[in-house]
């Protein structure tokens, strides 16, 4: 191969190439081979294959790093970097995409919108996420972000006949485009300072400048606006409840987990890369944002009666906890974010999967009252939901506790005692609204008795998320070792 596309270059993007190829394959096969809508669930095989190949690519990347004994491998003149951090996050995307695809076919059939494009959108979005986690160049990162976001704009509006879905997509698109504008503005300033789009050069350029340099400050704030929008941190969270509520529940699950994880990875790349030396500037800003996010997310969740909105606000508050890990910024904090993202993936996906199961032909199944007396009809689902909610709240011995544990510990290590106290007290607030769902499920009498929709994929996905949520809580050692590999530098 030419010097512009070497084997190393290829090696660094193999997983993304696989995702793109299989995404295209789905589009073609959907058209040619499966014209009958009832056969479309066979497209799932392509998703599974795509994730297998992606996973294999990731496995080879980490094996190569281990065998060479190097921490990272750069391709395309430093635009893409394979390192433990990126690989860790990419595994999370693989798991999230697989689980979401597994549960989607039944949901889309019930909703009457089962189209093959859906699966390719999942893969294309994941391709974007790959570059968010592994990109080390402003342009690469931006393209990754937009690829992911575009796929999500379409997926959020996937229920064409549903007004809420359309409204949500429009709102998400407009606000998302607006925030991308801010982000690009910040990027242009960084490029102006460094004369290069590579993160390493930008880092060096910003280190040259003195503290409170106005250009750095402007670049920092504009970039932060764009990034905070993506992780739905307050005050840029307004899109999240509407988008989460309107989108098909499977997409909500994907959006709340994978998109958030990718954006967090992106955020870490930027704040621990170029802006690492500007810490004095962003620490107070992010602290304020984190407190605001925790407050708004937790307090607004209390009064929600729609489960998806409630979980949307809860996911806003989780973004606040992840930000706290960045504010602490030591090794425990970064590892804590990795652990947090990992456990959040399983528990939040699990909670949304139960909501997916509530969707039946005539019943939307998203209201708090729809959960009334669930334990009588489907004790299995009710107890799984209980585990997910306890985990979201951070009660041991569930996985969620581990995530919060690391965040709190990092705050204490870096002597952010006030933040630690605020963050812990919001755990008690959170349990209040999570237990509103528990109360409906276990204490209230049932109001309607139609059986839940269920499919093999859904049961499998629920089983996996449920078992992992408990397993990570009870015996976390292997998972913590895994997260250890992700620590940047």
């Amino acid at each position: 191969m030419s010097q512009y596309y070497t084997t190393i270059d290829h090696f660094t993007i193999v997983p993304a190439v696989m995702l793109a190829l299989f995404g295209c394959a789905i589009l073609l096969f959907d058209f040619w081979v499966f014209p009958d809508p009832r056969q479309r669930k066979w497209l799932l095989i392509f998703v599974v294959l795509a994730e297998l190949f992606t996973g294999f690519g990731l496995y080879r990347q980490s094996a190569y790093l281990a065998s060479q004994g190097v921490p990272e491998l750069a391709g395309f003149q430093g635009s893409v970097t394979v390192d433990g951090f990126g690989i860790f996050f990419n595994w999370i995307f693989v798991v999230a995409a697989l689980i979401v695809a597994l549960v989607s076919y039944k949901y889309l059939e019930v909703a009457g919108e089962h189209h093959g494009e859906y699966y390719s959108l999942i893969l294309f979005a994941q391709c974007g996420m790959y570059f968010l986690a592994s990109g080390t160049d402003l342009v690469t990162l931006f393209i990754g972000l937009e690829l992911m976001a575009l796929c999500f704009y379409v997926m959020v509006g996937f229920l064409r006949a549903d007004k809420r879905s359309n409204e949500a997509a429009m709102k998400y698109l407009l606000l998302g485009a607006f925030s991308s504008g801010f982000l690009v503005y910040g990027f242009s300033l960084m490029y102006g300072m460094a004369g290069s789009t590579r993160l390493a050069d930008v880092t060096a350029a910003i280190e040259q400048r003195q503290a409170w340099d106005p250009v750095v400050f402007l670049a920092l704030t504009t970039t932060a606006v764009g990034l905070l929008f993506k992780i739905s941190a307050a005050p840029f969270h307004m899109w999240a409840p509407d988008a989460y509520e309107g989108a098909p529940t499977t997409v909500t699950a994907y959006l709340s987990v994978a998109s958030k994880a990718a954006s967090i990875a992106f955020l870490l790349r930027i704040f621990l890369g170029p802006f690492a030396s500007a810490r004095v500037m962003w620490e107070p800003i992010l602290s304020a944002v984190a407190i605001l996010t925790l407050t708004l997310g937790n307090l607004a969740a209390i009064n929600q009666t729609n489960i998806k909105r409630l979980l949307a606000y809860s996911s806003i508050s989780h973004a606040g906890y992840m930000l706290l890990g960045l504010i602490a910024g030591n090794e425990t904090g970064i590892k804590g974010i990795a652990v947090y993202v990992m456990v959040y993936t399983f528990m939040n996906l699990g909670a949304f999967l139960v909501v997916v199961a509530m969707r039946r032909a005539q019943i939307i199944g998203e209201d708090l009252d729809d959960f009334n007396g669930l334990v009588h009809r489907h004790p299995g689902y009710a107890f799984l939901m209980l585990i997910f909610l306890l985990s979201l709240a951070g009660i041991p011995p569930t996985a969620g506790f581990l995530g919060k544990y690391y965040i709190f510990l990092s705050l204490i290590q870096t002597q952010h005692y006030t933040l630690a106290v605020v963050a812990t007290l919001y755990v008690a607030v959170a349990i209040y609204y999570y237990f509103k769902i528990v109360r409906s499920m276990f204490v209230r009498e049932e109001t309607e008795t139609a059986p839940l929709s269920s499919s093999f994929g859904l049961r499998l996905a629920l089983g996996v998320t449920g078992v992992l949520t408990l397993a990570i809580g009870i015996y976390p050692e292997p998972f913590l070792r895994l997260a250890q590999t992700s620590v940047l530098r």
Binding site: I395, F408, L409, A428, R439, V443, E477
Partner: protein, 520 residues
């Protein structure tokens, strides 16, 4: 077998729970039998702990230790000393009795009920045997969920409010405690450069007084809410009144002791300087005294039988914390004995209420009167429970209160003077309760036809009455069991206390390496 005895005791309820899940929900009697058998087996299995416990041996016994989460330095490390032995036996016995006394009271969702109870049982045992702070915290939190369901699903009219209040209160306390734990954990790392949650290791950390005070207050919030001490007690009456009988019994008898146990096992030995800090000791003693007197006064005002007993818990637990913060052997030993006593007496009082509530479905004191004529057996047992709670000599309550008062007197005569008034008030509200409900003529026609207690109901009281008399008449074994662990705590908090003349002082230094010996 012997070296895993404690694990077996810990896991018996869990194993029973696993089997219980496979029994179909319709066969209610089978579920009841199985749950009762499991709980009884749990109690029987814990008995060898008593016979094989070496009285006076320093440090912990029946220790088991295994790595659990090496990256965090968390271990599966369990073991008991005299203090935990008594509370553990209280737990296994009260757990069995609570399960036994819900035979008729619980009629719907029987399977879930017993499942929750067995889970709760494991959590409580775990709290008392953990020697690793991480493990302790897991069990500590594990208790919340089943208790939430026991109150929230099988409770009274305001059960949802009471259940979530209980949950939020205790959770808020325990997350703040978690911050304290993490601070300690991190400080230990700073000094020794490895992470561990083991208590014996953490005790080696040398913390400056200022930091100790902060950590102490963090622990205090967690433990004081659980006890509950005076300003944090408001969840207790709600939880007690709304909980089903067995829930109240276990809540009063065991759950509250987790708080006092926390003070003894963690606050005092881990933060000796803060525990001897004048301000802190004064503050806690005053809060205890306020709790004793305020709780008793509120009892005098109650119209509701169950609420009265609930507030009496506030008063009695005030004695326990006062004893702890007297910081002398009498106070602390008395406190532990009083914790056991409170478990026995208040447990019995709640069971008494359960018996009458199942028959009349009201707890208004004014609804009753002259019951002794209708239900002589019931009246006798109630008299027993009431007198043991009021501290009649030759019954258990007297021993505990007397020893605590001795300890308090040694620490400060003022404290003792105030505390004594609590004893008097305690006798007053209990006797008055008895008078209003049991004595005189039957004023309410509905009470004329109440059946007296059945044999099964009486059987649930027999072990408790026997235990109450044993402690009241011959408490020496209890003091023997407690002498060594209490001496270790006092030695740790007040190194010069024994002064080198008594026999205990000679044991003191020898005991110290043994205490930390569990670390390796």
């Amino acid at each position: 077998m012997d070296q895993h005895l404690l694990s077996i005791v810990l896991l018996t309820p869990l194993a029973g729970l696993a089997v219980l899940l496979f029994i179909p929900g319709e066969s209610k009697n089978l579920i009841r039998w199985w749950a009762n058998l499991t709980a009884f087996a749990g109690f029987l299995i814990s008995l060898p702990l008593v016979s094989r416990f070496q009285v006076g041996a320093p440090g912990f016994q029946f220790e088991e230790r295994a790595d659990w989460i090496p990256s965090l330095g968390a271990h599966y490390h369990i073991g008991i000393d005299g203090i935990s032995l008594l509370l553990l036996m209280l737990t296994t016995l009260m757990g069995f009795i609570a399960i036994l006394c819900s035979w008729n009271g619980i009629q719907d969702r029987v399977k879930e009920y017993y499942a929750m109870f067995l889970l709760l049982q494991t959590g409580m045992i775990g709290v008392f045997v953990s020697l690793d702070f991480f493990l302790f915290y897991i069990f500590w939190e594990l208790v919340l969920v089943p208790m939430y369901f026991i109150i929230g699903v099988w409770g009274g009219p305001r059960k949802l409010y009471a259940a979530i209040k209980f949950f939020l209160y205790t959770l808020a306390g325990s997350v703040l405690m978690l911050l304290g734990i993490l601070t300690l954990y991190f400080q230990h790392y700073n000094q020794f450069h490895f992470y561990t949650f083991e208590i014996a290791e953490l005790m080696k950390t040398d913390l400056p007084l200022g930091l100790q005070q902060w950590v102490f207050w963090a622990f205090f919030v967690g433990f004081a809410i659980k006890v509950p001490m005076f300003p944090f007690h408001t969840w207790l009456p709600d939880a007690h009144v709304e909980a089903p009988t067995a829930g109240s019994v276990i809540l009063a008898a065991v759950l509250l002791k987790m708080g006092t146990y926390g003070f003894l096992r963690f606050s005092l030995p881990l933060l000796p300087k803060a525990s001897m800090d004048r301000t802190i000791v004064q503050a806690l003693a005053i809060l205890s005294l306020v709790g004793i007197i305020y709780g008793a006064l509120v009892c005098l005002m109650q119209q509701d039988w169950k609420k009265l007993v609930a507030y009496s818990s506030v008063s009695h637990l005030g004695f326990c914390t006062l004893g702890i913060f007297s910081m002398n052997p009498n106070g602390i030993a008395g406190s532990v004995i009083q914790q056991v006593n409170h478990g026995i007496s208040t447990g019995m009082l709640f069971m008494v209420i359960g018996v009458i509530y199942e028959r009349r479905h009201t707890r208004e004191i004014a609804e009753y009167g002259g019951l002794a004529h209708v239900m002589p057996k019931f009246a006798t047992i109630f008299a027993f429970a009431m007198l043991s709670s009021a501290g009649l000599p030759l019954l258990n309550g007297f021993i505990g209160e007397f020893t605590i008062l001795q300890g308090a007197f040694e620490a400060s005569r003022t404290w003792a003077a105030f505390a004594v008034s609590g004893v008097i008030l305690g006798a007053a509200y209990l006797l008055w309760l008895y008078q209003r409900t049991m004595l005189g003529q039957v004023t309410n026609g509905k009470n004329l036809t109440i059946p007296d207690m059945s044999l099964r109901e009486i059987a649930t009281f027999v072990p408790l009455i026997a235990w109450a008399i044993w402690i009241g008449v011959y408490p020496k074994p209890y003091f023997d069991i407690l002498r060594q662990p209490v001496a270790e705590i006092v030695q740790r908090v007040r190194p010069g206390y024994y002064g080198g003349t008594t026999q205990l002082a000679r044991e003191g230094p020898a005991a110290k390496p043994a205490l930390s010996g569990g670390a390796r």
